[in-house]
Amino acid sequence: MWDYSDKVKEHFFSPRNAGAVDDANAIGDVGSLSCGDALRLSLKVDPDTEVIEEAGFQTFGCGSAIASSSALTEIIKGMTLDQALNVSNQDIADFLDGLPPEKMHCSVMGREALQAAVANYRGEEWKDDHEEGALVCKCFAVDEVLIEETIRANGLTTVAEVANYTKAGGGCSACHEGIEEVLGRVLADQGKAFDPAAAQPQPAPAAAPASAPGGKLTNLQRIRRIENAIEAIRPNLQRDHGDVELIDVEGKNVYVRMTGACVGCQMASVTMDGIQERIVEDLGEFVRVLPADAPRLAASV
């Protein structure tokens, strides 16, 4: 079934803080449509210090919903309300050593229950600000609603653009049919038609002769182009707290170093593929992008 971490299993089999807190003064009830899960979080907050003294949960849901609820209560006990509000769903998932992408919404539900409970304590009304849809991209856990909204907001027309804006489809590519369907629907609403041909950016064969009339690029020109291509990609990586640095160029091999959040990221190889694609496109010749610490083969060019 699911590939749950040992931590998730442990918190499911032996949940902490299960049940309602007696004389709770903050209660948050939320549900996630995408799984039919629902959670009631009850807190006992010290009115003077706003410290959460006790936290309890009641959950109608699957293993990871129960584990996420248990994790949430463990994380927030002893925090002030303001500190607790800084807990993100990623913090809950990290506490559990990760959740399967299909189950990330369980951690979102935990965070929302917390927001709802704090709002309840402060006499405010909590309103959910996002809607969840069917999961389309399983590599990056992107749902249909987000894809659709992003397409509308940015006037996207191709699968590649959707991947650039939302990451959806940037991994194994199995969801491209689903993304094409969303694109087709949104474009049809706008009186346009989805054009699959536009989805395949053709590395125009004309580009190479135009940029290097009558001959090959000099080494310096090549390296400048590679540098420029990498510079163009860096903002995307930096948005996700990662980065990339050009280390060396040896024949067809381009050596780069991934830094920041890219280090150890399971999608690093996908990112590398993206960088390679970009350089190949800009250079008009095939190169291979490799990590700087990759074993160097005897230069064979």
């Binding site: 009641q58 109608f60 919903a65 129960i66 069917a134």
Partner: protein
């Protein structure tokens, strides 16, 4: 028969897949080693394999009660058989643009039909009542000369409910419409005699009856207009090209022979075990009920909805005790909604998520069933303790109002 059971664990998920019978395994083994020939070859290496396939075809024919062995077409799985049948009917009768099926079909049929709708075909989905039964009047009203094919499952994989496919096939025939049934859950569990029926096409899947995965059959009544899905070589008389999966075909033949032998046992002893399990759980656990049509279902299947808790959590706790079952909860499939079958029967949200299917096989013993009867009630109680819909000793008063979360 329990001496064949896996060393540890109680396997009650036989509608998902079954253990390959040890006799089936031994029948298959020579076809990985000395009997490796291509059945199409003239020489002795191929010749014997060809004979083994012929025998397997007859074993399948016997189990299905087909009139001719040439009506048996080996495929790779139940899904391929379903797709072949439906797409063939559309291809062979391009002027007919409608399909009749049911809302509770397996995704092998439902997803294909939804896809065909995008291609402009009109699909009528027959509804079911709260016991999962069809409205035959609705069915008759829909049959017309626009209908290319009717595809209705023999038995539902989740609830085990049986559909009156033989009667429906007769109605289709008198309306001049092709009839296909996805019988992957029924073959080997209920007696089938196709030569006495009006069923034109039937799908079966090996791994549901103790044969391996990766082998299926399309029964194709002689003289049924047919267009192959896979064209190529002359295998299966050109109706399903591709070199035969010889070992699995031989295994399926053996499995069909064994199914004939064990069918009585499964419908008497097996059914009694299922009933014992069901009674034991219903007696010990409050607020649970059997879904589907208990009086008219597969003898091995029991689907119970446990209210106010969620199925995946139940399965995880059962699994910890070595008990394997499955659930109609959304969470086990990664989909948005709880089982389409449970929703179609109007099972309330808080119960549909807590449905658990126990599906038995001839390998289950009474001791196993008694252990499950013992294991289930504390698990349900443990999870209900965590549930916001549950109070001290029962559901909170007016549960839907007492806990009405902001859904996002």
């Amino acid at each position: 028969m329990s001496q064949h059971a896996p060393a540890s664990g109680i396997y009650l998920d036989n509608n998902a897949t079954t253990m390959v019978d040890p006799e089936v395994v031994s029948a298959m083994l020579p076809f990985f080693t000395e009997q490796f020939g291509n059945p199409s070859s003239l020489h002795q290496f191929g010749n014997q394999v060809g004979r083994a396939i012929k025998q397997a075809r007859q074993q399948v024919q016997t189990l299905l009660g087909a009139e001719h062995d040439s009506e048996i077409v080996f495929t790779s799985c139940g899904t391929e058989s379903d797709s072949t049948a439906i797409l063939s009917a559309l291809k062979a009768q391009p002027e007919r643009r409608e399909i009749i099926t049911t809302v509770v079909e397996h995704p092998a049929v439902l997803s294909l039909c939804e896809h065909l709708e995008k291609d402009g075909y009109r699909v009528h989905y027959l509804k079911v009542d709260n016991k999962g039964r069809l409205d035959m009047q609705q069915y008759m009203d829909l049959l017309s000369d626009r209908t290319a094919i009717v595809s209705v499952m023999w038995a539902n994989n989740e609830s085990g409910t049986l559909f009156p496919v033989e009667e429906m096939a007769l109605l289709a025939r008198s309306a001049g419409v092709l009839f296909h049934t996805d019988a992957v859950q029924a073959v080997g569990k209920v007696p089938i005699d196709l030569k006495r029926s009006a069923i034109d096409m039937l799908s079966l899947s090996g791994h549901k009856l103790h044969a391996p995965k990766g082998i299926g059959v399309l029964y194709l009544r002689r003289n049924t207009r047919f267009r192959p899905l896979l064209r190529g070589g002359h295998q299966e008389r050109g109706r399903r090209a591709g070199t035969e999966n010889t070992a699995s075909i031989v295994g399926l033949g053996k499995a069909c022979e064994l199914a004939m032998v064990h069918m009585d046992d499964e419908t008497t002893r097996g059914r009694a075990l299922r009933d014992r399990l069901e009674r034991g759980i219903l007696d010990a656990v409050p607020h649970c009920f059997v879904t589907g049509d208990p009086g008219n279902r597969l003898p091995n299947t029991c689907n119970i909805a446990f209210e106010y808790i969620e199925g995946e959590a139940i399965l995880l706790l059962l699994n910890k005790l070595g008990i394997a079952a499955s659930s109609g909860s959304a969470c086990t499939s990664g989909s948005l909604e709880p089982s389409h079958v449970m929703r179609a029967m109007g099972i309330p949200f808080t119960a549909a998520h807590g449905t658990v299917r126990f599906s038995l096989s001839r390998y289950n013993s009474e001791q196993e069933i008694d252990r499950v009867i013992e294991a289930v009630p504390p698990i349900i109680a443990q999870l209900r303790k965590l549930s916001p819909y549950w109070g001290e000793d029962g559901p909170v008063e007016n549960p839907e109002a007492a806990f009405a979360p902001a859904y996002a």
